[in-house]
Amino acid sequence: MSDSQYAHPEALVSTEWLAEHLNDPAIRIVESNEDILLYSTGHVPGAVHIDWRADLQDQTVRDYITPEAFAALCAKNGIARETTVVFYGDKSNWWSCYALWAFRLFGHDKVKIVDGGRDKWVAEGRPLTREVPSYTLTEYPVPAKRKDEEIRAFFEDTLKHSQEQKPLIDVRSPGEFKGDVTHMPEYPQEGVLRGGHVPGAKSFPWKRAVNDNATFKSADELRGIYEKEAGLSPDGDTVVYCRIGERSSHTWFVLTYLLGHSNVRNYDGSWTEWGNRVRAPIERS
């Protein structure tokens, strides 16, 4: 069971809960990973695979898929409008939070995250299968539009946010924030020309929100970090960013669902846009 002190405890389920709902027709289990072949090596029985790049992003323009493509993606994975989509994945749920956030862009609000993600499921010795499930095609209605303005921030929004000194949270590692490095720890350089951070941003690395086993910290601990220490207000206007938007999706989930902040946007262009943009203001410290 998740911590009932969370603002939306229903958005977070345990691995035990997942094990008990493997055959629940009202849910669809979705694995989303950074490791593109990981799902094929074995996954939670019944889980489908949704890839952050191939499935959720437009393959030409750096943007998300259209509402039509989203409806088709859901339909082929047996997801109906009323289906509760339960996400889990590798890397402490970075990409499952990213996929959940993308589903929210299209107004699919019945979503949950498996606390601890794939690593916890595997560590507990729970079953994995290589059998790819097949579900009956659904008729998912095409969303009227993608709700970018509600939970997504663009460069111009983030620049304005910075200029107006509104809450801006950089969830990258301290070295990236300071501008000492232009890559993530344990990752190769991903083509960023300048290091540093958006002026006025505060450094709160995503990892502060999780325990060693990738489960989320308690509501009290999270409030201490984000409300007391970072000074964020539940009804404030907050923008979070990282490098390409996946780690900040994780923090977006924490702020939105676990702490109940009502107006949090994810700047998915993040540092790979900002750090390459001509004349974008940069602060180093």
């Binding site: 490791d35 593109i36 072949l37 094929s40 090596t41 344990e186 990752y187 190769p188």
Partner: protein, 155 residues
């Protein structure tokens, strides 16, 4: 560009495989990655085990060069290495087996998309090139040592 014969064979096989079978073949290679480590009783000319900043886990490279200048690699991987990197480890251990250290250095990395498929080589899967870099690094160190030895003997 010509590749070492064993690697060329693997590349040719992957190039004709449909995407689904290509993935299955990669998974199969990834499954055998943990069998690429040193075997009991083996000795090496060079051992390089380290955790680099740009890779998610420790990688050990073990190089043996025979009197006939043929080289053999063994590689160990930490558990957090990506599946694609595991697959490339098995492919490289097999594909580069028996060639000289200089030939290892000469292998160009442009074969990677031919095996993996362009859609899989993308942001967040670039560590697929890392194992080849480490193998080349070991070959270079070995060659430099040999050159130093030879110049010492000449002096």
């Amino acid at each position: 560009m010509s590749y070492p014969p064993k690697l060329a064979e693997i590349i040719e096989l992957f190039e004709v495989l449909p995407d689904v079978e290509k993935r299955e073949a990669l998974i199969s290679y990834a499954d055998s990655a943990m069998r690429q480590g040193p075997r009991e009783g083996e000795t090496f000319d060079l051992e390089d085990v380290r955790k680099d900043e740009e890779c998610t886990d420790t990688v050990g490279v073990y190089l043996k060069v025979n009197a006939d200048n043929t080289s053999h690699y063994r590689i160990t991987l930490g558990p957090h290495v990506q599946t694609l990197t595991k697959a490339m480890t098995s492919i490289l251990c097999k594909g580069l087996d028996g060639i000289s250290p200089q030939e290892v250095l000469d292998v160009e990395a442009d074969f990677v998309p031919k095996i993996v498929g362009a859609d899989l080589v993308r942001q967040r899967s670039q560590t697929v090139y890392y194992i080849l870099t480490r193998m080349k690094s070991a070959a270079k160190v070995w060659l430099n040592r040999q050159r130093a030895l030879q110049s010492g003997e000449a002096a």
